[in-house]
Amino acid sequence: MSRFAISVRGVAKDFPVGDDNIRVLHDINVDVNAGELTYLVGESGSGKTTLISIIAGILYPTEGRVQVFDTEIYDLSDNELVMFRLANIGFIFQQYNLIPTLTAAENAAIPLIADGMKRDEAVERGRVLLEKLNIANQADKFPRQLSGGQQQRVAIARALVHEPRLIVCDEPTAALDAKSGRRVMDLLREVALSEDRAVIIVTHDNRIFDLADRILAMEDGRITHDGRDKAILMQEDAQ
């Protein structure tokens, strides 16, 4: 078994523009260790969302290979890939994308229900996770009745409820104030990280850079900084 949670080799991605293709990722090679909180940072259009989509198995690369916990995910059939995501990957979206007509506990239970678990059992497990995230008293409320921070916690619960090994987050603190953002990140680190898991976060939010174990910076579809020297990045960002 590889010591890496994620191994990306020679990944490139083209998008069609009119009759031509435009390359938005160029020969990306990166490994992500298990037990690390990895940030993917960069300007808009730098390719970080494309890269995280490819790593998460929801966007096919034009070239290259991606291994997630020793599985060559793009060697899988479409259905196998969907089932792999369901079993191994948790998603936290910037806009939360909670189902407005389900309660917090029911939203949290979605991956388990999608996997065929009995509804009552799944919702109960969602409830347990909400308790862990300190919003047990909001479990029977609908998303519209929750604050942004509470909705983000429900989204985190949904990402974790099926105990995935890889968690991918897209701007998880973008819609939150500094205090709530930090609390969400603390929670994520506490709940999500363990020796056999990895968390990748796409973010612009320099308020939370200090919480990262590793930061990958991107520019024009290339990784321009890869390391644990967060101070450099934080200084650059400050300038």
Partner: protein, 388 residues
């Protein structure tokens, strides 16, 4: 991960997504219900109007073969025969009995002094073959009385105000006296005229006419001869046109189809029902899907397969179809049942079992079409779009 696999659970999410958006859910159910009501109600009225083209034939239960001049087309479009036709028919082997029937139009002066067109039916003087099987009021034997006529129940309500005495009332029928001695329970014919039943001999007096007055010979076949065989035999031996009850009923219906705009008009309404259904359901369903496209995208990213997404949309469509169809059908049944009970215009109307089946097929088509359009956008949604 879960051990107990139950694929139905994801449908619960789909149903909650749908029913939680009450405005759109009600809109969808209303669309299907309205289409169902429109299609079912219009088809039912259409079929019952057509059936009235054969009512006059079906009311005569004792005969199973109708004999007529070859030019006669229906019970209302008649070319009379000489009375000798009766004996010629009686001479054919396999005829159990043969009775004369006269059908003609006449005018009466109503108790209020108005003029009203009526259909006069003259039945066999001795056997009374040709009067409807059910009496609403009175005794069939009273038709033997001088100048006696029976009136149909719808006609009696048309001519007489509620509470007014009908039995024993006199009518001025083509300038002659007719006395109402009974009310028969019959279904109105397509022409919806008041119908008066009388003996054949009386009818000859009531209705002025040409040399030939006999409209039909009503025949009952022997037990060992089928009506079809006997009809063929009568035509062969007499040169007259002979039709079984079923055939002649169908002739009356076909005449309406061929000679009126009813099928086109009702057909247009049914098509409009389908179009309205597709428009309302299609637009509302598309709006619902559009509003939830991010959620569907998220579900796909999380790991819900396209097949499960299709099952989810099918469950949503199925629920809308089931509730909407049930509501629409109940409303249509209420309309037809209530109309049949409370209005002479709808007397005898019923909903043949084929109509709910046809409506169900059309509703399924509406749902399948709108569901297909809706699901295309869901299936085309790139799961990666949730990160954009």
């Amino acid at each position: 991960m879960a051990n107990q696999k139950d694929k139905q659970e994801v449908n619960w999410v789909a149903i909650r997504m749908l029913t939680g958006d009450r405005v759109k859910f009600i809109g969808l159910v209303f669309g299907v219900a309205f289409s169902t009501l429109l299609i079912t109600q219009q088809l039912t009225i259409f079929v019952n109007l057509l059936m009235r083209g054969g009512v006059a034939v079906q009311e005569v239960s004792t005969a199973n073969v109708w004999v007529m001049d070859p030019a006669t087309r229906t019970a209302d479009v008649i070319y009379p025969m000489p009375i000798t036709a009766l004996d010629r028919v009686r001479s054919v082997s396999g005829v159990a009995f043969a009775s004369p029937l006269l059908r003609s139009n006449a005018s009466i002066r109503t108790p209020e002094g108005d003029l009203e067109g009526v259909t006069v039916i003259g039945v066999d003087d001795s056997s009374l073959v040709g009067i409807p099987r059910r009496m609403f009021e009175g005794d069939p034997a009273r038709l033997m009385d001088p100048d006696a006529v029976f009136i149909d129940d719808v006609g009696s309500r048309k001519l007489f105000a509620p509470g007014q005495t009908v039995i024993g009332s006199q009518l001025e029928l083509n300038d002659q006296r007719a006395i109402i001695k009974g009310i028969v329970d019959s279904t109105p014919t397509f022409t919806a005229q008041v119908t008066l039943y009388t003996r054949y001999s009386n009818a000859l007096n009531f209705v002025p006419g040409t040399r030939n007055r006999l409209s039909f010979v009503l025949v009952r076949s022997d037990a060992n001869v089928s009506p079809e065989t006997l009809a063929g035999r009568i035509t062969e031996q007499t040169g007259l046109k002979a039709r079984t009850t079923q055939q002649f009923t169908r002739d009356g219906i076909d005449f309406i189809i061929e000679n009126t705009g009813i099928p086109i008009n009702f057909g247009i309404t049914v098509v409009l029902g389908v179009i309205v259904g597709v428009a309302i359901v299609g637009l509302t369903f598309s709006l619902f899907i559009r509003d939830n496209i991010k959620q569907f995208g998220a579900l796909k990213a999380i790991g819900v397969t396209n097949r499960k997404i299709m099952v989810m949309v099918a469950a949503q469509s199925g629920l809308v179809a089931l509730i909407g169809y049930g509501l629409g059908l109940t409303m249509a049944a209420g309309f037809i049942g209530g109309g049949a009970a409370g209005s002479d215009d709808f007397k005898g109307f019923y909903m043949p079992y084929q109509i709910p089946l046809i409506t169900a097929a059309l509703v399924l088509a509406i749902i399948a079409l709108t569901g297909f359009i809706a699901i295309r956008s869901v299936l085309k949604t790139d799961p990666a779009s949730v990160f954009r």
